[in-house]
């Protein structure tokens, strides 16, 4: 970490190579590593299940995150209870690891606003659907925590495409100017739908953009869950210490389509995807655990079974939620329905 501080993105920080080898002693125990792996398995199970459900017409459009589990689980694992998360439609793994229950994520994807009603104490905003507008929210959230004197921070997750939005500039600038505890976490997955990162910006890296705002920028191997954890934990610690915001660019790859409505064969080669299969965030941890003699097929099978059971249970729960009523739709607009909404309730209600 120390040798890459202040470099703002010209080097890439990593700890575990794709073949599972490590150069230095890892700052996590084997048990912690296994827990991260288990989380990634559970996330991938959710992702696979969601894709299948969408194909069956049981979910609205779905944005898969396959290939980005390392980035998302690593980042979320660096947070503490009470920290804020403002992420995107592709951040289900991150949101879940930060406390957003699977069943509500699924409920939301079935097309139900009640999926956004996270339990009390979970400070994860519902996924942002528009691109870019939510980064500044993490500035306001962090600013409020700073003014309240708490040591909670806010993390905002976004893609490479979002860095072209004007709101990226406003958010980065505000965060730096007011020195608020915000972590800007960019998952550079190579594409904004079809548009490659290489065309999105002429900056050498996304992390380099931090320079312009007077904050640290760090480029990390986004498929290395431990490296991401370490990088985001460092960014979060700085923020908690009152040292302000920073930008972490996790270099990763979206193995699947942009959404279930997208066809990646129109804009990228299959060969490119195969290269990234070799860098899969789960595979490298598996290889590492095998090297460490901490892997067993029984353990792995059990993980997969448990993950499947949990996701199935969440799906079952979400699909059993009664249909939302007309009245609920009108009543969630304001704390108290307005005169006009009450009239419309009478007009359009079943009664």
């Amino acid at each position: 970490m120390s040798q890459t501080r202040g470099v703002n993105g010209s080097a890439m920080f990593g700890l575990i190579d794709p073949d599972g080898s490590v150069q230095n002693r890892l700052p996590v125990t084997v048990e912690e590593m296994k827990a991260l792996y288990a989380d990634m398995v559970e996330a991938r199970t959710y992702d696979t299940k969601s894709m299948a459900m969408q194909r069956q017409g049981r979910l609205a459009t779905y944005a898969p995150f396959q290939g980005q589990e390392g980035a998302q689980i690593g980042a979320a694992a660096a947070l503490r209870e009470g920290d804020w998360v403002a992420g995107t439609y592709r951040d289900a793994a991150l949101n879940w690891r930060a406390g957003y229950p699977w069943e509500l994520l699924i409920l939301g994807r079935t097309g139900d606003e009640r999926g956004g009603q996270v339990p009390a104490g979970v400070n994860v905003l519902p996924p942002s659907i528009t691109v870019g507008g939510h980064m500044i929210h993490a500035v306001g959230l962090a600013w409020a925590e700073k003014l309240k004197g708490s040591d909670h921070i806010a993390l905002t997750s976004f893609g490479d495409g979002a860095t072209s939005e004007g709101d990226f500039h406003e958010a980065m600038n505000f965060a730096a100017v007011f020195n608020v505890p915000t972590v800007f976490f960019c998952q550079n997955n190579g594409y904004a739908i079809s548009y490659p990162t290489s065309e999105q910006t002429r900056s050498e890296t996304i992390a380099a953009k931090a320079d312009a705002y007077g904050m640290p920028g760090l480029r990390v191997d986004g498929n290395d869950v431990v490296a991401v954890l370490v990088a985001v934990r460092e960014a979060a610690s700085m923020a908690r210490r009152g040292e302000g915001p920073s930008l972490v660019e996790a270099v990763t790859y979206r193995m699947g389509p942009h959404t279930t409505a997208d066809d990646p064969s129109r804009y990228r080669d299959t060969d490119e995807g195969l290269e990234w299969v070799e860098k899969d965030p789960l595979t490298r941890v598996r290889r590492l655990l095998e090297r460490e003699k901490s892997w067993s097929d029984e353990w792995h099978d059990e993980l997969e079974v448990t993950a499947s059971e949990r996701i199935e249970k969440a799906v079952e729960w979400a699909e059993a939620v009664p249909e939302p009523t007309f009245e609920e739709m009108l009543r969630r607009m304001y704390a108290e329905p307005t005169q006009g909404l009450l009239e419309q309730l009478r007009e359009g209600g079943d009664a």
Partner: protein, 325 residues
């Protein structure tokens, strides 16, 4: 009770809110050291500190988006945008985030915040400084839109807006900031967001207006009264949610309605109000509803302002048109 103008009333309300609720913070361009381009926040940073009243970089989307985050995290931010014509970079934040968070989380997260925006023409300002595009805000479900025309309402509505559990866009009529004065209580009081105010009771015709155009509407009522017409004047003051009951109650009584607004005619709130009247009290009408509005033009520069702004004469003429039938 001290006599204050509308800007002073707002300043007093913001000071009261800062003093009585620790969650209240103010943020915007030039609102601290200089007290805002219209001096509405004059002295507040000095009295309440730079940790309550923030000067921000020039970024409207950033101001509203940051205020949104603050509100979600439990503060009561009051954001200032300098002019309605400068508010559009923040429109995305307002329509896509501020207005929707309660809905998309089924009440779990909310954004109790106020977005103050000076609006309207008549002071010979530069381009983009004179807009009256309130209808594009009133059209957004999930927010409230308020516009006072008196110091008393300004104070009460501002304190109500800050207390409100939902986001409020608070439009401030630039032309009236220093043009209306009255004695108002210094105590904490609120004016309910929603109901219209019957400013002047009458029997023959209802004049319906809000914000800056209340000045000409009042003058027209005085002139009509001299001609022996009994005029009821309604200050709508909350544009969303619209008090349809209050408006149609008056029109059902007088049977005549003239709606006055500074915004261009087409797509203005006058259309919504006229439609409501025709839906609810058509048979009580003695004459067609009249609209006196801005022309369907870009708000002009100084030398053409008088061509644009609805005049007392136009309002009086429209009222007579309803009385001739």
């Amino acid at each position: 009770m001290p006599e204050v103008n509308l800007a002073q009333a707002l300043n007093g309300a913001l000071g009261t809110a800062l003093g009585s609720d620790d969650r209240v913070v103010l943020l915007g361009e030039d609102i601290g050291r200089t007290g805002g381009v219209f001096r509405v926040t004059d002295g507040l940073q000095e009295r309440h500190g730079p940790d309550r009243v923030f000067d921000t970089p020039v970024a409207e989307s950033g101001i509203v988006g940051a205020a949104f985050g603050m509100a979600v995290a439990g503060l009561r931010p009051v954001a200032e945008l300098q002019f309605l014509g400068f508010s559009y970079p923040a429109y995305d934040q307002i329509i896509n985030h501020v207005a929707r968070i309660r809905n998309r989380t089924n009440h779990r997260f909310t954004a109790p915040m106020v977005i103050r925006i000076p609006y309207g023409g008549g002071i010979g300002a530069a381009e983009h400084h004179s807009e009256s595009t309130e209808a594009i805000y009133a059209h957004i479900p999930g927010i409230k839109v308020v516009v006072p025309s008196t110091p008393r309402d300004a104070r009460g509505l501002m304190l109500a807006a800050i207390e409100d559990p939902d986001p409020v866009v608070f439009l401030e009529p630039i032309r009236l900031y220093r043009a209306v004065k009255e004695e108002i209580p210094e105590i904490y009081y609120t004016v309910e967001i929603g109901p219209v105010r019957v400013e002047r009771p009458g029997e023959d015709v209802t004049l319906i207006s809000w914000g800056a155009m209340m000045k000409e509407t009042r003058a027209a009522a005085t002139e009509l009264a001299r001609d022996g017409v009994s005029v009821e004047v309604i200050d709508v003051r909350t544009l969303a949610p619209l008090d349809r009951v209050g408006i149609t109650g008056s029109v059902a009584k007088t049977g005549r309605a003239v709606i006055v607004h500074e915004a261009p005619l087409t797509g203005g709130l006058g259309g919504e109000i006229a439609a409501t009247i025709s839906e609810r009290c058509l048979y009580a009408l003695h004459a067609p509803v009249q609209r006196v509005a801005g022309w369907d033009t870009i708000f002009p520069l100084k030398r053409s302002e008088a061509h644009y702004l609805p005049s007392v004469d136009r309002i009086v003429t429209a009222a007579h048109r309803t009385l001739e039938v």
